[in-house]
């Protein structure tokens, strides 16, 4: 009931914005030369969407065991993982597993220490040149805001991770390049990161198919990009209800004030 009312309101908003919305949506359609993105159902979709925490926690495992070898998450701190439902002890353990450069100390020396929850996620490469050199000349992008940094981010991410196939006959691939149905130009330097069922071991017994792992890591990275999403949507729902009531009152007031002019 409320959901459809809010949808109607959102639509009203979209209509009012009218021509403004046209170019943005039109732009989205012409990601040239690649297949249309599949649209799986995401738990965070829609006005009432929330993060699937179990999935996002598994997704963190996928990130740690697969993605983190090449991709950073530099805008997040280990302490942020508490928001995903990890315990204080788990977060401390995750942080302590990395070595952080700190200093200078009292003697002016830089030193290494185990990570703390307040540390930012450690990036796998010292700098972009190092990342480039180690990865066929294409630096793996940082994943902190990756779902906001691509058209239809979560959809694209899921599609890309599940879009590795053999190149069609007759297509000449660059050296070391992989065929991906959804990547611009279809040639991607990244090897299929999720390739074998059971590649990541899930503690909760979920069957780790490639699709499942892709979905889990998409949930995790969507959270990483928009950690405020749940607070935002829930505030939005309250705000819309408040404004709807206020609109009715304002309209009634306006009618009453103008009654003698009709």
């Amino acid at each position: 009931m409320f959901r459809s009312a809010l949808r109607a309101l959102a639509l009203l908003g979209a209509l009012a914005a009218g021509p403004a919305l046209l170019p943005a949506s039109a732009q989205a359609a012409d990601a040239a030369g690649v297949e249309a993105l599949p649209h799986p159902h995401f738990h965070f979709d829609g006005v009432f969407g929330t993060f699937d925490r179990a999935s996002a926690q598994r997704g963190f495992g996928v990130y740690q065991q697969v993605c983190a070898a090449c991709h950073g998450l530099r805008l997040l701190s280990y302490r942020n993982l508490r928001e995903l439902g990890f315990s204080e002890a788990e977060v401390r353990a995750v942080a302590a597993a990395v070595t952080v450069n700190d200093g200078p100390n009292d003697e002016g020396q830089m030193f290494e220490r185990p990570g703390r929850p307040s540390d930012r996620f450690r990036s796998p490469f010292a700098n972009e040149a190092a990342a480039r050199a180690a990865n066929k000349g294409a630096a793996p992008p940082d994943l902190s805001v990756i779902t906001k940094a691509r058209e239809h981010g979560p959809q694209y991410l899921f599609a890309l991770l599940t879009g590795y196939t053999d190149a069609p006959a007759g297509m000449t691939m660059g050296e070391g390049m992989n065929y991906n149905r959804y990547f611009t130009g279809n040639q991607i330097a990244m090897n299929a990161p999720l390739h074998t069922e059971g590649q990541v071991e899930y503690a909760d017994g979920t069957k780790a198919t490639v699709e499942q792992m892709a979905m889990d890591v998409t949930n995790f990275l969507q959270w990483a990009a928009e950690p405020e999403m749940e607070a935002r949507k829930s505030m939005g729902v309250k705000m819309m209800i408040f404004l709807l009531i206020l609109a009715m009152l304002a309209y009634a007031t306006k009618r009453k004030v103008w009654a003698d002019q009709h």
Partner: protein, 423 residues
């Protein structure tokens, strides 16, 4: 009342004491309380007030964002993300500010359209209109510089493309570009001066808005019939009639605003701006924000760089002389059977340009842009000057209070009770 004091009508002793010496309460009462306002406004007349509210929202959120933002090329992107993640309700302030820019342009475009359709630019409101065009230009500059601040890929490349436009001007062009950049490429000095100017210009806008409103209160408002106010029966006091009506409009505006901020905060933005600026990697499509797309399309419709730049700036500068290009004495398009359609077509051309501006400059989009650009200018420079001479307007109503409908008969049933328009 002794000599030298303002004769205040207020009863409250404190208000009266202040008002006698500095009649701000009388001024507010005259300008927003009893101010005689045509009684036949439709909801198009809501958008000036909405623009004012929007400006205040932008200044308020912007001041708090500036407390947490760092204008440095190596820190700007991260400081914005810090606002999103670590500053209390930082995400709310940033999304309100970013979407507020879009809302500001939506509101102002409707406000300008209102002026075009009902002839609000005509005598005696020429200067009022011209001040409005100044506000719009200042808004564009402010929005452009604000978009550079997050220092994402579109920030950087948008800034590079737009500032480079000035190099098209002969002799002075390169010097202007160096001055804008504060160096020889878009870099830290550019970001610093854009931040400074982005902070300054809204207050300049505020000042010019004050002039806009002051001029409005001399000539009084236009109205959907476009005829002058003749008798007190034509008007109602601004308060409570239009304060009540504007309040309702304001809530609807907030609903549109909120649906963007809370449910689609990045819908109108470009994903590339979440990639940190990189001078070595050019994005495949460099597109400005949606509200600049029509002018971007005009720029790219012209094969010559200088010509494109001139037409792009000209597309707004031509508004300055609009009051003299339109030779018809009839203000409202309701009574101009041909000009009405010419203007509606101009609106379509504007939307076509907006659409083409977001597309790659090739094939059909170039053709469409050229046709639309041609019509955009033809409307102002050819159609309006000619139509004023050859068009036969419909008979104008005698007064706002007693509108004469076609045929002069009694009001059709329902016309007087229609809630949306008090004609």
């Amino acid at each position: 009342m002794s000599i030298g004091l303002h004769n205040s009508a207020f009863k409250n002793p404190v208000i009266r004491w202040v008002d006698s010496r500095l009649p701000i309460f009388s001024m507010m009462q005259n300008e927003y309380g009893t101010f005689p306002t045509p009684k036949n406004f439709n909801y198009f007349w809501n958008f000036g007030a909405l623009a004012m509210i929007n400006l205040m929202i932008m200044i308020a959120t912007g001041i708090f964002l500036a407390m947490h933002y760092t204008p440095h090329v190596s820190m700007a992107f991260d400081s914005v993300e810090r606002i999103m993640r670590d500053v209390n309700y930082g995400w709310l302030f940033r999304y309100v500010h970013a979407n507020g820019a879009s809302m500001f342009f939506i509101v102002v475009y409707i406000h300008i359209w209102r002026g075009l359709y009902y002839g609000s630019y005509k005598a005696p409101r020429e200067l009022l209109w011209m001040i409005g065009v100044v506000i719009f230009l200042l808004m564009m500059a402010t929005a452009f510089m604000g978009y550079v601040l997050p220092w994402g890929q579109m920030s950087f490349w948008g800034a590079t493309v737009i500032t480079n436009l000035f190099s098209a001007f002969p002799y002075v062009g390169d010097h202007i570009v160096t001055l804008l950049w504060g160096g020889f490429s878009v870099d830290n000095p550019t970001l610093n001066r854009f931040f400074s100017l982005h902070f300054l210009l809204p207050f300049v806008i505020f000042g010019v808005v004050f002039l806009h409103v002051a001029a409005l209160h001399i000539t009084g408002s236009n109205n959907p019939l476009g005829i002058d106010v003749k008798t007190p029966q034509d008007t109602v006091p601004f308060h409570p009639y239009y304060t009540a009506k504007d309040s309702f409009g304001m809530v609807i505006y907030f609903m549109v605003f909120a649906s963007l901020v809370f449910f689609a905060p990045n819908y109108l933005g470009d994903p590339a701006n979440y990639i940190p600026a990189n001078p070595l990697v050019t994005p495949t499509h460099i597109v400005p924000e949606w509200y600049f797309l029509p002018y971007y399309a005009i720029l790219r419709a012209v094969p010559d760089k200088l010509g494109g730049v001139v037409l792009m700036f000209g597309s707004i500068l031509v508004w300055f002389i609009l009051p003299w290009l339109d030779t018809s004495p009839v203000r409202s398009m309701r009574f101009r059977p041909i000009a009405k359609w010419a203007l509606l077509l101009w609106g379509v051309a504007f939307l076509v340009l907006m659409y083409c501006g977001g597309k790659p400059p090739e094939g059909i989009y170039v053709v469409l842009s050229r046709v639309a650009t041609l019509y955009y200018f033809a409307y102002f420079l050819v159609i309006l000057p000619l139509l004023g001479r050859i068009e036969r307007p419909l008979p104008l109503p005698e007064s706002i209070a007693k509108p004469v409908l076609r045929g002069g008969g009694p009001l059709p049933a329902g016309a007087a009770t229609k809630p949306m328009e008090k004609a």
